[in-house]
Assembly symmetry: C7
Homo-oligomer: 76 residues x 7
């Protein structure tokens, strides 16, 4: 899953990802879409058991657009 940043996002479509934001929040969900600004769309992950143990993590329950300029890291 190596490659340029947008290639990694493309390869991660329909896979669970964790997105850490500048305000300290983190979101966990299935990557449903993205664009060149690193705006991303997350949807609820069906398999709850896959949620990492991070207590500050927000599991996405809806379709959530995250504006790219808030993103610090996206972990595939």
């Amino acid at each position: 899953m190596s490659g340029r940043p947008l290639d990694v996002l493309e390869a991660s479509l329909n896979e669970p990802v964790t997105v850490h934001l500048k305000d300290g929040d983190a979101y966990y969900g299935v990557l449903a879409g993205y664009d060149q600004h690193m705006n991303v769309v997350l949807e609820e992950a069906l398999d709850d058991e896959a949620v990492p143990g991070d207590i500050e993590l927000r599991q996405v329950e809806d379709t959530t657009i995250i504006r790219g300029d808030n993103v610090v890291t996206i972990k595939a």
Copy 2:
């Protein structure tokens, strides 16, 4: 309602959305418009019963333009 971020906004037109801003405020209203900067236009939601229980949420009463660079997340 998956897809690229602007596709999700397009699919959410005339539907209620919740917009969380960098200053901690959140707005709830019907998505009346958007552009490629994620500037959005919200209008008052007619069905009050649809307002989520979040106590910090500001239900839009007028036509409100939110400048996109304030946005953290938009939940459809």
Copy 3:
């Protein structure tokens, strides 16, 4: 008055608007102009009785240009 953000501004020309800024200030005045950066021009509203009751609101007394990158919301 729905539509894309700049369409809403166009439709609001010569109408009173309230502009909330990132520094917490808010300005009330008649929308005299705008551009694609959401820079706006406000002029004094003639009808004082139209000023909303918000105590922090600054009623514009002169022609005032507000640089768009300060804007959080514009309410028409």
Copy 4:
């Protein structure tokens, strides 16, 4: 003096303006120039009696360039 933001600046050339900055400072001077970024050039106003009574206002004594990204408002 209504119109688009840059039209208002054009109409304000050689007129006194007050520029409020994000750091809380405010400058008073004659508008000698501007560009599309809202970078502005202020020069000393000859008529001291025209200075508004705002105690935090800095009356420009030299030719002063203000970089546009610091600007909150320009009052003509």
Copy 5:
């Protein structure tokens, strides 16, 4: 390994790098990709013994995209 910044990144592909961010965090991993915004992709370094002794350093365990606007320095 001298040259322009993106040339240094190109030369560092598949090599361990340390990325220091504006929030004070630092990430250590193998550089798997980058783009012109200095968005980078790090992957887990196989040779643990290569991790520098910095106690605040986060060794990457997954494929991690870091959005370029968070970066202060990248040390090759």
Copy 6:
């Protein structure tokens, strides 16, 4: 020395200027160069007596490039 902001910089080449930055620092030196981002190059002013009395002012001793996005004002 009036005119558009970059015209004022052009007219100020080889003249002493004071550059105030967002972090509160101020630099005094001869303007040796600039570009369209308001990045500027200052060099040491030969005539020490020309240094204004501002106690926080840093007189440039070397060739110093100041990145334009730090600039609040440039006084010619």
Copy 7:
């Protein structure tokens, strides 16, 4: 070594420079590269005696890319 900002960087290639960042850190090293965003590449300076006496200065030990948007000044 006067001229436009990027001309000064070009003239400073393979010479020691000091780069002051917005977070208060400063880096000392040989300028190995740069680009139009003022992203710079520093390498270790061979002649330790050339390090200025500034106690907060970080002498570069590796090839270090500094992202340009962190830069306040570059002193040649």
